[in-house]
């Protein structure tokens, strides 16, 4: 009986609260229009509207990509440089046991961690390469790019002069303007400053690589090139008239000292030398 009364109370409350509350009205202090005006002014003040919202997941993904990228860059761009100073010869070994004989004042740069993917060496100066068989092997210098598979060849790349001499195998050269040439053994290519390739076949390779044996052979070489070579091999400074375009044919050996060499070279060209100080020499014409 009591429960019944209770139930009646509950449904009465249900009805009564419906009657009392349903259909009531709200009277807000701020109208919707006022609020929209406030929001609108805020929106217009920052029209971009997008706040920086760092999502940790996204951040983690970005960080992983960055780490992978850095690691990749490290493996790709970590480089080793081998450099020779004046008067120094050096035998450098590359990761696959290819060898480079570096002449004085030369530099090679290579990417040891990237070696198995692509064999690239940058060269400044002169070097004799003995390349192990394998993937394409590329030597990049300022004037030209040289590509081989497995072979031995000499590259001379100083100032405006670029010479490649093929000793064994096949060598492909490509100048910076895009001309190409393929060298067979006993041939050499000269690339001038404009990028034109001049191939000479059936040559003696020994004069080009004799420097390895400390013998310097010159066949109709510009005299300034000869003096530069002497500077490099003996670590001296030679001041020579720059308007001298005579060609020199002859040789010297590093076993001789620098004055012996100059005594040998100069008279043949109608020149003489004066020792200015310890390692400085001035070359003048004999009749001056």
């Amino acid at each position: 009986m009591k429960e019944n009364k209770d139930d009646m109370n509950l449904s009465a409350v249900d009805r009564e609260s419906k009657a009392f509350l349903t259909g009531g009205k709200f009277s807000w202090t701020k109208s919707n229009a006022d609020i929209w005006a406030t929001l609108e002014s805020k929106i217009d003040a920052q029209p971009k509207g997008r706040s920086l919202n760092f999502n940790f997941g996204k951040l983690a993904v970005a960080a992983s990509i960055l780490i992978l990228f850095s690691l990749g860059s490290f493996l790709r761009f970590y480089s080793v440089q081998i450099e020779t100073s004046v008067g120094q010869h050096l035998l450098a070994e590359l990761p696959d046991h290819s060898k480079v004989d570096l002449n004085a004042q030369s530099k090679i740069t290579y990417y040891p961690h990237w070696w198995s993917i692509s064999r690239i060496v940058r060269l400044e100066g002169e070097g004799f390469f003995e390349v192990e068989k394998g993937n394409k092997f590329t030597v990049i210098s300022s004037i030209s790019t040289t590509q081989v598979l497995g072979t031995s060849f000499n590259i001379y790349s100083r100032e405006d002069v670029y010479k490649v001499t093929c000793v064994t195998g096949r060598v492909k050269i490509k100048s910076k303007i895009g001309t190409e040439a393929i060298l067979k053994p006993n041939s050499k290519a000269l690339i001038d400053a404009e990028g034109k390739i001049n191939v000479l076949t059936g040559i003696e390779t020994f004069p080009e690589i004799s420097w390895k044996k400390n013998i310097f052979l010159f066949t109709a070489s510009p005299v300034l090139q000869v003096f530069s070579e002497i500077e490099r091999q003996y670590g001296v400074k030679i001041e020579a008239p720059t308007d001298n375009f005579t060609l020199y044919t002859g040789n010297f050996s590093k076993d001789q000292n620098v004055e012996e060499v100059l005594n040998y070279v100069c008279p043949a060209l109608g020149l003489k030398y004066i020792r200015k100080s310890g390692v400085e020499y001035v070359i003048i014409r004999e009749n001056e």
Partner: protein, 184 residues
């Protein structure tokens, strides 16, 4: 989201969001601030929202803002400052009874647990079905039913002591009126 779309969203849902926070807080100022912040947040994040879920999402954001800002504060309970119940009678005697009735409701709603009050007022004032309330609050219909019956139970207990005599009079008056309206 373009400004026009945002304006449409505001026009469609702002009132609902403000009421929802009001049912929880019974405070005009807080409800307005929270609802405004909710919309500002939607704009700033430039969310793309599934239209079917938008109301639930707005309620969720508003609820979270309310909890994080006001849970620990003492909030002034001003329900009837903002909400005017169903049409008042002009009869002075009725007016007095009405005031008493309102005071009784005020006390009952104030002491009612927030979860029950929210569901109860959504059903009474917004006239939403249990299913609609359940969807918007992300709850089951069973949970809504339970809260409703708890709310009615709470109301019964709290109104009974205050208005034992009065309720009969009011009920008589109201039920008569409802009957008359139904007959029309």
């Amino acid at each position: 989201m373009k400004k026009e779309e945002f304006k449409t969203l505001f026009d469609t849902y702002f009132e609902d969001v403000r009421r929802y926070v009001f049912y929880r807080s019974a405070n005009d100022e807080i409800s307005t601030d929270i609802a405004q912040d909710t919309f500002m947040r939607i704009w700033e994040k430039q969310m793309t929202i599934d239209p079917k879920l938008v109301k639930g999402l707005l309620f969720k954001i508003a609820g979270d803002l309310f909890v994080s800002h006001y849970r620990k504060e003492k909030i002034a309970f001003n329900f009837f400052n903002t909400f005017q119940p169903n049409s008042k009678s002009t009869n002075p005697e009725d007016e007095l009874n009405y005031q008493e009735l309102q005071n009784a409701y005020d006390a009952a709603l104030k002491s009612m647990p927030e979860k029950q009050r929210t569901v109860f007022l959504m059903n009474r004032i917004d006239e939403l079905k249990y299913k609609e309330i359940a969807d918007q609050l992300g709850l089951s219909v069973k949970a809504i039913e339970k809260r409703m019956s708890q709310a009615l139970d709470h109301l019964k207990t709290h109104l009974k002591s205050k208005i034992s005599g009065l309720i009969l009079f009011i009920l008589g008056f109201r039920l008569n009126r409802i009957n008359t309206e139904n007959k029309k």
